[in-house]
Symmetry: C2
Subunit: 342 residues, 2 copies
DNA sequence: CAACGTAATGGTAGCGCTACCATATGCATC
DNA sequence: GATGCATATGGTAGCGCTACCATTACGTTG
């Protein structure tokens, strides 16, 4: 006896329904959908008709199970609200919106352990590609990435030893460039202010350190950091701390633009002249840096482009033509503005 | 003849491997993992041992196919970089990080068509729940949501006619409250400045309009809007436009905080006194509003909480106890600050 | 003590798709 | 005309899991 069709599925049309309606085999429907060039014009048209008529949509779960490959990009970032990562993610989304790939976004909260957990979860569904922020994965995470069996792109930074591919820039050079600019503009007692000292911030600090040493200006009391999450209000507080510690401060290189903005506001409030008394340099160059008064010098980074490039590289690798250059350095640019124009 | 185990799967251990090792049936392993209380202590221990030893991780795709239900939350927002939605998304992520649910995040770019497309894609994998921003879905989108066969939460706004559940607040009331505050503080020629006039912005404008009408202060020339994407620099430009159009302007209610910040910076630049000459009110109350100089009055909205609440409601519905209140209004608060303290 | 739960376990049969292999057809090649 | 080979299509057998329906062992009840 024949049972009523499908107890479980919500009665959605399946590939078999389409095949029946179009008078072809199921596999031909499958092919018509995935590799149309391998099916004759005639059948293709017929199948398309049946698909439209039934409102057939392939089941991605069944597809993933059968092909041992999910059409999913796994993306791991340390923060969802930090504009910097949001821009990278936006680049990724925009590059993938015309593709069949879905995106699974994970938030590691800057935690290596959480990253491992998410990598485990993401890996278990056999994603088409993985994009992760940073190059400082734990050994476990690294192994998970290496064994993921799909293209992997590390973004935001470049380094010597990619898991697979990399798109980013040198935070050390960025920090150095920012600091050298302040020195060049005549500032001498230049502080470093940083929150959330993740590995990238550490390297910016290292760049600052290198530049200051080279100029013979380094003094450990010039450095003010905290592990707390970065914010504008924190920038203000850190700047007050820095000033209390070192009243002769005449410039600051800020870990990021939020901090720089906090510094600027505090200068307004305390009637400290920018750029005469204090010079300010930020990092990332958010839109508002050029609108601020005075406008704030910052290191422009190409976040959106990093996201786009990462997807382009992953897509190429999926298609079988792995890019020549496994490490792409998109660089950065110093934007000179009023906040350092003494 | 027996073929070598599994040509396709990458040789990962399956539930059958675990069952064999633990000396039980596959279904018992499945149960031990999903409903441990239905399996005896003894077997549970044994199975856990086998799982650990083999490093078994269930295949979510197979699971989804067999159970006709993916452990996925679909989340649709109009923008990834707008801090407002980023906060909602963060709330969703934080609430889901200890659950087995993965998150699929879609970016509609404020487009109804794109929303329809994403709903189609998301729906096809039978998600456990859907969270969408806004209450102004197209008829097609609404139908897709109604037929999704899973809990649906509309967030950011409340309205009379939920698809299923709602968490948000009244943007109209928010706009009205902001405007009434300006009036109360003695401002009279109060402008509205808004970018990206999405439905929520429209309702804030309506609130502004209502308050101004009621006070007998409305004048259409006081309203300055643009469909362009909101940004700090755009806020500055719109404010200049508004001032050119209406030089006697003495206050502005800004569509959002980015715009308000742009206005503030332009006032600095043009040496316009805030709050004496111009009063400023923003919307959303980003962290930096209280740090700005002068600090900016804003309507505080509970974005993070909206995300958390939406997940809590969806989770309850999945568990079978749909909340009594299908519409949750989380309200907002007026934060009075220096920018309106005449 | 027969009849009847109830708790714990297992077997079978798919879920909806695609990898793999087979088959059929047409056409160039020798 | 037999052979080979590319092109177009189809059948079969899973992918790794869980829904559904046994089955067994052990009370509990009148």
């Amino acid at each position: 006896m024949i049972k009523p069709r499908s107890r479980r599925g919500g009665g959605r049309p399946t590939i078999a329904d389409v095949a029946r309606k179009a008078g072809v085999g199921a596999i031909t429907v499958s092919r018509a959908l995935r590799e149309p060039e391998r099916v004759s014009q005639d059948l293709r048209r017929q199948i398309q008709l049946a698909v439209d008529e039934l409102g057939y949509v392939p089941d991605p779960n069944a597809r993933a199970l059968a092909s041992a490959r999910a059409e999913v990009f796994g993306v791991l970032v340390p923060s969802l609200t930090n504009n910097v990562f949001a821009e990278v993610v936006r680049g990724i989304y925009d590059s993938l919106s015309d593709s069949p790939f879905r995106i699974q976004l994970g938030n590691t909260h800057y935690s290596g352990l959480e990253e491992e957990r998410l990598l485990q979860v993401f890996g278990s569904q056999r994603p088409a590609a993985l994009v992760v922020a940073g190059i400082d994965q734990t050994p476990t995470s690294r192994k998970l990435l290496e064994n993921a069996g799909c293209p992997v792109v590390q973004v935001m930074e470049t380094g010597p030893d990619p898991v697979d591919m990399m798109v980013g820039f040198s935070h050390l050079d960025g920090g150095r460039t920012a600091t050298e600019h302040l020195i060049e503009m005549g500032y001498r007692r230049i502080g470093f202010i940083g929150a959330r000292m993740d590995p990238r911030s550490q390297r910016r600090l290292a760049g600052y350190h290198a530049a200051m040493e080279k100029a013979g200006l380094f003094d450990p009391r010039l450095v003010t950091t905290t592990p707390l999450l970065s914010s504008v209000s924190l920038g203000r507080e850190l700047f007050r701390d820095a000033l209390a510690k070192m009243p002769t401060l005449d410039g600051v290189f800020c870990n990021n633009d939020d901090i720089a903005l906090g510094v600027l506001f505090e200068c307004h409030r305390a009637a400290i002249d920018v750029p005469k008394t204090i010079g300010i340099v930020g990092f990332n160059d958010l839109d508002m840096m050029q609108v601020a008064f005075p406008s704030i010098t910052s290191i422009r980074t190409h976040r959106y482009e990093i996201g786009r490039r990462a997807v382009a590289m992953a897509l190429a690798a999926i298609a079988g033509n792995r890019p020549q250059e496994r490490i792409v350095d998109l660089g950065f640019e110093l934007r000179r503005r009023e906040s350092t124009a003494r």
